[in-house]
């Protein structure tokens, strides 16, 4: 989904709040929130794709104003309600106040049927797909061309896995993009490597190319 979580290349954010040896947690509840989602994933109650998607489904103003661990806790709590372990009213009662949850999402999808296998050195283009369900294709690579550097082991296909759909596992390709291809203006020279699922890619049509 083209949600507010998809931040790569968004303009307007200021300097990074950076310090060496910066804290991971600022409050004890954050440490607990981290343990809660991780334990639920380990015990198989949730999978990482549905967890990430639950966070992405947060109401945009809530997403942007919540801290990282509040987003984590909101995603987990939303899944507990959606899986029938609790009702939203119960969470409100237990928390002695309003417990904001994520919004319902759109359906997922299976693997793309005409996908191709790629090898290092292949020039590829990211399909111009607009997916309303979960997707791990940052919008900044949509329709852009790059070079395949390597392939990963196969992973569950996030667009299906986040929605409880059955699909084939797919490799991701390490695709190298020129920052100038991604943002022809107002970007700085760099090579941007993105792990791109096979279903998101198509062969680059033959012809003159500027991919390097």
């Amino acid at each position: 989904m083209d949600g507010v979580h998809d931040l790569g290349g968004r303009q307007g954010f200021g300097p990074v709040r950076y310090a060496r040896n910066a804290a991971v947690f600022h409050h004890d509840w954050e440490r607990q929130a981290n343990a809660l989602y991780a334990l639920c994933a380990r015990k198989g109650l949730i999978n990482m794709d549905e967890y990430r998607h639950a966070i992405e489904r947060m109401e945009p103003r809530h997403y942007l104003s919540a801290s990282y661990y509040e987003r984590s806790l909101t995603g987990l709590a939303s899944l507990l309600v959606e899986k029938g372990l609790a009702s939203a009213e119960e969470l409100n009662a237990l928390a002695a106040g309003h417990f904001p949850l994520s919004l319902p999402g759109s359906p997922g999808r299976g693997n793309v049927s005409d996908r191709s296998c790629f090898k290092p050195g292949d020039q590829v283009r990211v399909r111009s797909d607009y997916i309303s369900g979960h997707v791990r294709m940052p919008a900044y690579i949509r329709g852009k061309s790059g070079l395949v550097i390597s392939a990963s082991p196969a992973y569950p296909f996030p667009d299906a896995h986040a929605h409880g759909l059955t699909a084939d596992d797919e490799p991701t390709y390490d695709v190298r993009f020129q920052a100038k291809e991604l943002w022809p203006e107002a970007s700085e020279p760099a090579l941007v490597h993105v792990g791109v699922f096979e279903s998101y890619l198509e062969p680059l049509p033959d012809g003159p190319s500027t991919v390097t």
Partner: protein, 204 residues
């Protein structure tokens, strides 16, 4: 058309505080028999003690001093890490180590959420999870690194790695010139989490 006036005038609700929200989620999970209170403390303790940047530092220090191990680490990071007793969660199926050289500087991020190889380099610091880093480092890497105190030579090629799948990355910083003859343990002691993310170098 929805009634926008009605929507925007909805009374904002004040949310329960986060300690109470954590309590609510814990209560539901305990009631469902998914986990016990002691699991949470045990897990948090394990994370604090086991997921430390010294794991990555030890891998890198060994790679700096043992060419065969370096080869293995660059070719199959997950197996190399496991050979030294450093495991990764089941969903992290691939671990790629990115070697910085005189010509190339690597930096990692996760623009969509905040994924990292946390069992190897430690849980990500707060700034890594902030919107400023997530939005800007892919597009303005050189400026962002400079703002964070890392000024790279104009002819250094910057490679930004966006963690969009469950392949995890770690940067292998350049070994500082002053460390000639140091032991593996001494070398490991100077390798920081920031240098394994790629936002700082070990050269002073």
């Amino acid at each position: 058309m929805g009634d926008l006036t009605k929507q925007s005038s909805a009374k904002p609700q004040i949310s329960a505080n986060l300690n109470q929200r954590v309590f609510a989620v814990k209560h539901v999970l305990e009631r469902a028999g998914v986990l016990a209170e002691s699991d949470i403390e045990a897990f948090a303790q394990m994370a604090q003690e086991s997921w430390i940047p010294q794991n990555g530092a030890r891998l890198i220090a060994r790679a700096w001093t043992d060419p065969a191990f370096k080869q293995q680490l660059l070719q199959n990071g997950k197996a190399a890490a496991e050979s030294m007793g450093f495991g990764m969660p089941a969903h992290h199926r691939h671990f790629v180590v990115l070697e910085n050289t005189e010509r190339v500087h690597n930096v990692i991020c996760c623009s969509l959420c905040s994924c990292t190889a946390f069992s190897i380099i430690g849980l990500p610091p707060d700034w890594y999870k902030d919107f400023e880093y997530r939005s800007r480092v892919v597009r303005q890497a050189r400026s962002v690194l400079a703002e964070m105190g890392l000024i790279l030579a104009a002819d250094t090629e910057i490679r930004v790695w966006d963690t969009t799948a469950d392949t995890r990355y770690m940067v292998m910083p350049r070994r500082p010139s002053i460390s000639e003859g140091w032991s593996e343990a001494e070398l490991a002691s100077i390798i920081t989490k920031e240098s394994m993310i790629g936002v700082s170098s070990l050269e002073q």
